[in-house]
Subunit: 346 residues, 2 copies
Amino acid sequence: MADKRTPSADPRRAPNIEDVARLAGVSTATVSRSLNSSGRVREATRKIVETAARELGYTPNFGGQALASNRTNTVGAIIPTMENAIFARAIQALQETLAEHKVTLLVATSQYRPDREEAQIRTLLARGVDGVVLIGNRRAPSAYALLNARGIPFVLLWSAPANSPFVTIGFDNFGAAHDLTTRILEKGHRRIGMISGLTADNDRAFDRVQGVSQALADHGLSLSPHDLVECRYSLKAGENAAMQLLGATQRPTAIICGNDVLAAGALRAARASGLTVPDDMSVIGFDDIELATAVFPPLATVRVPHRRMGVAAGEHLLRWMVQGERPPSLTLPTEFVERASLGVAK
Amino acid sequence: MADKRTPSADPRRAPNIEDVARLAGVSTATVSRSLNSSGRVREATRKIVETAARELGYTPNFGGQALASNRTNTVGAIIPTMENAIFARAIQALQETLAEHKVTLLVATSQYRPDREEAQIRTLLARGVDGVVLIGNRRAPSAYALLNARGIPFVLLWSAPANSPFVTIGFDNFGAAHDLTTRILEKGHRRIGMISGLTADNDRAFDRVQGVSQALADHGLSLSPHDLVECRYSLKAGENAAMQLLGATQRPTAIICGNDVLAAGALRAARASGLTVPDDMSVIGFDDIELATAVFPPLATVRVPHRRMGVAAGEHLLRWMVQGERPPSLTLPTEFVERASLGVAK
DNA sequence: ATGAAAGCGCTAACAC
DNA sequence: GTGTTAGCGCTTTCAT
């Protein structure tokens, strides 16, 4: 460990703003202004400073900058898991958008657990992030309180509640589920099962179940408790859930899944049961990740605007952070993608 | 934006160490020592300080802490992409390991581009990370120079070169590929094709090709240029590449793929060509991600110790950062996973 | 347009 | 075991 009390002796010591100022023959204030393009600096001066900085290989010290400016140029995002491609892609888009403005993204995961999410919010705040991105809109008031106490800009992704007091950027989970269910009903299906992610701490999953339920109700049908199985978002869990549904006396002719991973599991269950999709049974996913077309038959699913959500989250947050004005919420459209896993009911 | 020049007036101003010290009736040094459990502080005093800190909702200011201690308790990792589940999982394990020691992980992506990776290294260094994790061992000397100039601990994941001057934590890509190829040969296959990721900037992909090539040579065979197709790691690219191989006058009876995603693409190509796997052709993947068992038939593949690499990376880095001693390299085993996509040659 | 200088919040050396 | 205090590197106000 380098001894930081050895000013100019340590060759490993990173050059600081004073070194640059000295070499350029200006004050540290001018160096700061030049490099941050913040103030009025004569072009010639700026050039000299820039040259000096480059020559020394100067990089502003993050701590010093953060301390003095009270900004970190960092945004934190907390997603349920990195292992779901849909979040990975949204995060990627968010990161790219922020990077264009020299803002770094800090990614944390909650594993779908509210307590972990709140802990992660604390961690991010402790690190002085200038903005936060969260998934979903339903969480403990204490979580929102943390954010509000610091007055930090934050946006909620993946849902579009009607009258949220917060800035949301997402889509209508209820509506999308309602729509896809209606299309399934149009194919003549009447016995419909559903495999959902755990709805307790997941408003998106909850809303999707509600959407399916309502669409069925609109047609005089209902989603009874044994037509609905909740499980973790994993292939194996989806397979087990589907097995359970298929074991019923009246097995469903169509299974709606909370996401594509569960649907892939359902496909596997169908195969294991000797059922052909879509002839014997239809399977419908949600998300439209690459997996949806990797399996056979390819999954009918709902295309979620993951990339656009990521980009919009970045843009809205940046606007809020820089200009100080709270941006409006945004609702993006989804699209039902019809593929071979959905057939007409026999 | 709050005016930071208004000391005690702004109610939004976060409590600082001095506030805590005042409330606890001790000095700031004692507060620091208490909270960092670094020094000898009487237990009773520590209790008082802790209570005061909690009451005020005190969180150490990141910038101040970083500036004074010259540490950020942050580790940066640069992976090719978050969209490959194998990296996502390793990162998850790394994050968990680091979190146990209150170290935050900063994740960046390079999209398999060396220039981007170097830019990301710069970004991470500018943010004062205390350690760095990179994927692979082959990169421009300038990239290593950046790390060495700062004397920052860093480990290289995913490969296990024989005499690396750096700390590597990975597995033998060449050996794993050699092994799987030998097993395929044992099944009687003689016309073998390969779909690889782009080898130019990817030592793992390169080593795997070499391993396959060598195993074939060991049996008097060779991997001719038109038996090998390089492409991006995507399902569609894998499908196209497989189509190309299948279009040859002597189509291969087995296609070895650089990863499971490519293999899933090859399966799709086989189906599109009216070929049955494994009866008409075998397909072998690499990684053993969930996708490998989501497709049909399930993929024979190589299980990569992603989780163990992530954990080991965290442990080694922590040891290096804290104790200052450079840890040894580590080579982990892989395991060939036989599944239905590999059959005997006809 | 530029410089001087006052902090930002914290840690760690040193004194007691 | 605890207090005093000198910085860490930077931004920003206030002069000029």
